[in-house]
């Protein structure tokens, strides 16, 4: 069993470098990517505000996962789900901040872009 456990380890090079996220070797699509984006967003989103995490292009299944990432990684903020159990909530307009996973949308949301990363953007939204 010890030999089997050894064969399950990642390659030596990966063992010698600290992972960027706790999900770097997780087979689930997007876990490490969304972790990185939401962790970076946590550095520019202050406590006490409301946040919604959305996908570009829009995808209710991805937004369900992003909501859970945001709940975990953005403590002390009010997380407004854009989708819940893969059903859109249409509540994201109520949020003070948007985290957009994926490319910047063709028509930018109203407000100011406060963070840009290869994985997505963070927007501070202004009142209508």
């Amino acid at each position: 069993m010890t030999a089997l456990a050894f064969t399950e380890l990642p390659p030596l090079a990966d063992l010698l470098h600290a992972p960027a996220t706790p999900y770097d070797h997780n087979p689930s699509v997007g876990m490490a990517k969304y972790w990185s984006l939401v962790s970076d967003a946590a550095k520019v989103i202050p406590y006490g505000v409301s946040v919604s995490a959305i996908a570009e292009p829009r995808d209710a299944a991805v937004e369900t996962a992003l909501h859970r990432d945001a709940v975990a990684l953005l403590p002390r903020r009010r997380i407004i789900p854009a989708a819940f159990f893969a059903v859109p909530t249409h509540s994201e307009d109520d949020a003070d901040y948007w985290i957009i996973a994926g490319p910047a949308p063709a028509s930018p949301p109203r407000g100011e872009r406060v963070l840009s990363t290869p994985l997505g953007t963070v927007w501070r939204r202004t009142a209508r």
């Binding site: 010890t2 456990a5 070797h25």
Partner: protein, 433 residues
Amino acid sequence: MKSGYLWLASLVACPLSAWPLLLHRSYRRFSLPCRIGLAFASGGVLLSTWMTLFALAGILWQPIVLLAVSALTAFLLRFLLRKQDSAAPERTRPGLPAAMAAAISTLAVLIAVAATTSAAATSPDLLYFWGPKAQAFAFARTFDLAFLRDYYMQYVHVSYPPLVTNLSALASMIAGKFAWGAATLTFPLCLGALALSLPSVLRGIDARPSGVFASTFLVATFGFLGNNLDVAGNGEPWLWIYETLAAALLVGPFAATAAGQLLAGLLIAGAATAKVEALPFALAVAALFLFLRRREIEIGPAAAFLLLPTAISLGAWLAFGATHRLFAFYEQYGSFFDIRWQDLGDDLGNVGKAIWSAGWALPWLLPLAALLAARKRSRLALLPVLVSVVLAAFFVFTYLHQSDPAQWISWSAGRVFSPIVAFLAVAAAISGR
């Protein structure tokens, strides 16, 4: 990074809180490393129980107060023990088999550390419910009612028992934040505590090398399964330590004493409050112990020692849920009588596939083969064997309530069936006497 170290180091509160009990002469039959491992496990139960009772009483958590009342409880529990429970300290002769076993166990724990620190073993459930709940509880310094009542928090399994989230919240309060990387390291930490304690517990039932190798097999197997099934940061490592040690204690001679029963009762409570599926374990293992060993024990006190810790710890959690109108009991997977018997073949096939994919089912097949090949059959081996049967039946029964549970089975069956590995290994060890 520093908060991560502090988060992990704060779990030393577990052994510290139970140490006054484990210092009692009754437990000197075990080696010092064993008593440290047992104190880690039983201290976690004391701390978690007090956290739940504090929340029920509306008292905010303060780590130093929790440590003090838990240690005081451990001290007071000593008065329930009798002098005749005492036994001579374990005298071990560290021969070549014991040295080999210790070396393999150490290697298995180091591999688990490598798997965890390289992010290969992290559980998705850490992100999806264990972590957010613990984090919210730590900020609130109690069970966060606003969080638990939020409609959009249903996915965190509101009614799930509290031990893992309590201990994580305690560590987060001490460290000042929830440390995600440190939380994943609870997998090798629990594995290490099991490696420290299990050899001495199993030597109590079998002084020959087979007892030592059963312990090493379990540490190596859980090290493999932990990475294969991605359990770092979730409840399985805690369940493994509690269920394995409880089963091993209950088939040994020490379980005939009040001290053995009290310790087993604390471990059973740890299992029952670590994961939902451990409640049938708690009921089955206690009932089978009382029946199979009825001639050696006083039924009333033994039942109290075994079940009162679970009744208090889990009862406090259920009372918290009921008094705050959060839940009356665990969430159900469909209506109890709505059983899809027509899916039994498919579901069993899917369970088989899930278990096969975890190392060709070797973790289950090897101890089963050792048990079947044993020349002598101990009547007490029935205890872990029947617990395995009860749990397997319960898991399949649960799956039979879901339409098309193939995907659910594929990601959960390996984990939920994993404690059965320990029960089969304990049965094999006791049969090999």
